[in-house]
Symmetry: C2
């Protein structure tokens, strides 16, 4: 193969990087911090997009598109947004190039300086709420339920493919409502959509929770999130949904006349997931041999590899395999038949393991005689001989089983990596030696939260929505606490 | 309605602008030259994307994603590309903002200046061919058949919604091949895909042709295009497909070992269509009452409007209409049932005419009694009473008829607006008084082409692929010519 991957136990971070590159998901580009998403990686992202987009439409949302550029002054309009939001942005200052005097190169034309600099959007609340001002006069114009699929740029200094890149792809929902209750309902509804997608498509269990004030989105009144656990025991925030109150409406003067005829500011939400999910997908399930993809997101769900010794056998296998391929495709299963004579079966097996294809079917002359095929599943590496009768139904069933098994495996991993800590000593011991989610009491102050982060590098991932009240004392300060919150080291 | 649209005869350009805005397709944003694509407009674009994307996949292409930013030096690598490509680009020079000294605003941090400026991609040949260098070693790595859906920026000074905007959405295919023949085959195949899409989805007849050297894409060996005729007699270039030869491979040093073991530069194509097609769609078919959308691209294909005098009637109509809606939806037809009590039927009729909904079904109590409905088609404004028996089949048939009729109407318009001119006097008279495509002899020189443009504002749209040889003399210089070429004033 020549595609050696560092093992997880050796170096988890290198394993991840190796896998993303060797499985042809993405690579670094010539532009610092920006990635190239390769066809195989993009095919997975397209499947994610397609599923999410349908879920957004089923919950009443429409797509729209807003400008890539945002006037600099817009960011200064919402105080918390400007204060809290990272200032690492790509800034457009000029709009023309010209030939250099020697005619050999190009340079920025100093005469083409913009009056006001434009920021490449790091997120679009400001430009969208500036637009909504003209769309909304009365309660009859509400709600506005809009989503945008777009690229955004945040000038990160230390980047990692998918997990943290200067440019990334995402969707951002921006909704406008006539009441706080309705906006809050939207916020939690979309959090539910994200959790549903993470669990039922990505096969990745998540905790739904609310962020502490310190971890809140800049400009939000309340930030909700889904948090997943990676195999190295670190948490990954997989999606956020923000209740923005009237903050952006106030900043951009977006008012409406309510049913009582009284003017009020409009209520807002925003919510997003990004290509970061690709990183989460890789890290949640894959192993030292390559990707493990949940069938629902696998670009190729089944690969068929013929095993033959001569041209005559191959011709027979081609016919036999094409029939199987068609019967599987008729059930909506995506199938690749790989009869290339440039590579040996063993090479192909390793290649499709690397690429995370959920089911491999190998067929040799004796299988044909016996009306059978050899079926190998990627998740457990188990092999079995299947009779070809009703193979389509059996494979469909197997794909569902694999989807479920991958989820259950991730869920039990999370269960064994979820702890309670009642002292700082316990807390630190778990983080240093075991990893995972640590439920611990906290006194509710930002000061304590930051101190714990400083001491342990762990942050409060969220306060779970289904949290049960429990009296206790803060692991750092000993002050009283009414509930445990979820800590972890995180991506 | 309060949504008066300027008539086409009064002012075609204002009619277009009114229509785009009042039908909720798009609007100008706070950022000069950048548009907001509104949900209704975006829904049409999504239908275009979905259809094109499937056609690309059916012809063996995969999607991928390359960086938004391109290092300035990349543009200087391909001589014709830098020379010919517009230099009006958005230039990123800094990567950080900071708070102003007074704490009230933000400003560009002068310490965060990039070593090399980044250009927001106006097109991606350079960054993609720089990437392909690492993907290609041997003929076994070829062909690469990749497409990208992306936003691009060209700093246009005079912009018009969809037709010419600073930022626009598009797709750009970039393929790599082992031979000139294969690359040329790809170039014309994708031109064929565009023509197929324009004619069979947009219901817009197009001429397939090749551009003159003067109108060629910067860096291309040959540029092919599809040209459509708008209702004001002006041409619109609706898509281009470029045979790039080995130009970009040479500029970015992309070589491969061929089957004979010899190193050679890789052959390239690129091809694209953009949100400009939205403008073409509007201008090709719509009338003074609003949009006329071909059913295959209409977000709502059928609207049902109940006509009632009281709540009891409405309740009955709701039940009756929902049954009809479901039966239509079961055939894959998208249906909206508009029973809002905030607007009168007449208002709704005008609204859906404005929005270009192909079929309107009105149902009153008497229709219910008679087991009938009133069906109005948007394209011809004809109304007819249909019995509800097999209504789904009849409506499906009607939608196909409308699709065909819109195409035929555009085709016969083009036929009546296609002329031959043999002298400059005839040529100018047609352009000034009739408009349309003018087939005329030309001596084949760029000098003559530019002179004719200067005198008449008409350009050579293309040399049709199916052109017949014909001896004649150039309308300007009288020099011999072997074929007529297609001139027009253009968008």
């Amino acid at each position: 193969m020549g595609k050696e991957i560092t093992s997880r136990s050796e170096n988890y971070s290198e394993w991840y990087q190796d896998l993303v590159i060797k499985a042809d998901l993405a690579e670094n580009s010539a532009v610092r911090g920006c990635m190239v998403i390769k066809p195989y990686g993009y095919a997975i992202w397209e499947k994610m997009q397609r599923a999410l987009d349908q879920m957004f439409k089923d919950t009443g949302h429409s797509n729209a598109y807003f400008p890539l550029f945002i006037p600099k002054s817009f960011f200064a309009k919402e105080a918390a947004h400007i204060e809290g939001f990272a200032k690492e942005c790509a800034v457009v200052t000029h709009y023309r190039l010209r030939n250099t005097a020697d005619g050999k190169g190009i340079e920025v034309d100093p005469d083409a300086k913009l009056e006001e600099e434009l920021i490449v959007r790091p997120t679009s609340e400001t430009i969208i709420w500036n637009t909504y001002r003209n769309w909304i006069q009365s309660y009859r114009d509400l709600p506005i339920l809009v989503n945008q699929w777009a690229n955004v740029v945040r000038w990160e200094m230390r980047t990692r493919l998918f997990l943290r890149t200067a440019e990334f792809l995402w969707q951002e929902g921006h909704t406008a409502h006539a009441s706080a209750e309705e906006a809050m309902e939207e916020t939690t509804k979309m959090l539910g959509v994200y959790a549903d997608f993470a669990e039922n498509w990505m096969a990745m269990p998540v905790i739904k929770g609310v962020k502490t004030a310190n971890e809140r989105f800049a400009g939000a009144v309340e930030t909700f999130c889904i948090e997943a656990l990676m195999q190295d025991g670190k948490a990954l925030q997989a999606g956020t949904s923000h209740f923005l109150g009237q903050n952006f409406a106030r900043a951009f003067d977006v008012k409406f006349t309510n049913k009582a005829g009284v003017q009020d500011y409009v209520w807002a939400t925003s919510w997003g997931v990004s290509t970061r999910l690709m990183g989460a997908l890789v890290m949640a399930h894959s192993d030292d041999d390559g990707l493990v993809l949940p069938p629902k997101l696998a670009p190729i769900q089944v690969v068929i590899v013929p095993i033959y010794k001569n041209e005559e056998q191959l011709a027979q296998l081609n016919e036999y395999s094409q029939k199987i391929k068609k019967s599987l495709e008729a059930r909506g299963i995506s199938v690749k038949y790989d009869n290339r004579d440039t590579h040996k079966p063993g090479w192909k097996f390793a290649e499709y393991e690397l690429k995370g294809v959920p089911v491999r079917i190998a067929i040799g002359p004796r299988d044909m005689e016996n009306h059978s095929v050899e079926v190998a599943r990627r998740d457990t590496k188990e092999k079995a001989v299947y009779q070809v009768v009703d193979l389509d139904v059996k494979i469909e069933h197997l794909l569902n089983q694999i989807q479920e098994n991958i989820y259950n495996k991730a869920l039990s991993f999370r269960e064994t990596a979820t702890w309670k800590a009642d002292t700082m000593a316990e807390f630190t011991d778990i983080l240093d030696n075991k990893g995972g989610f640590v439920h611990a009491h906290w006194d509710g102050t930002t000061e304590t939260e930051l101190k714990i982060k400083e001491l342990t590098k762990a942050t409060i991932r969220c306060i779970p929505l289904d949290n049960k009240p429990e009296s206790g004392s803060c692991i750092l300060t000993g002050k009283p606490s009414t509930q445990r919150v979820v800590f972890a080291r995180a991506y």
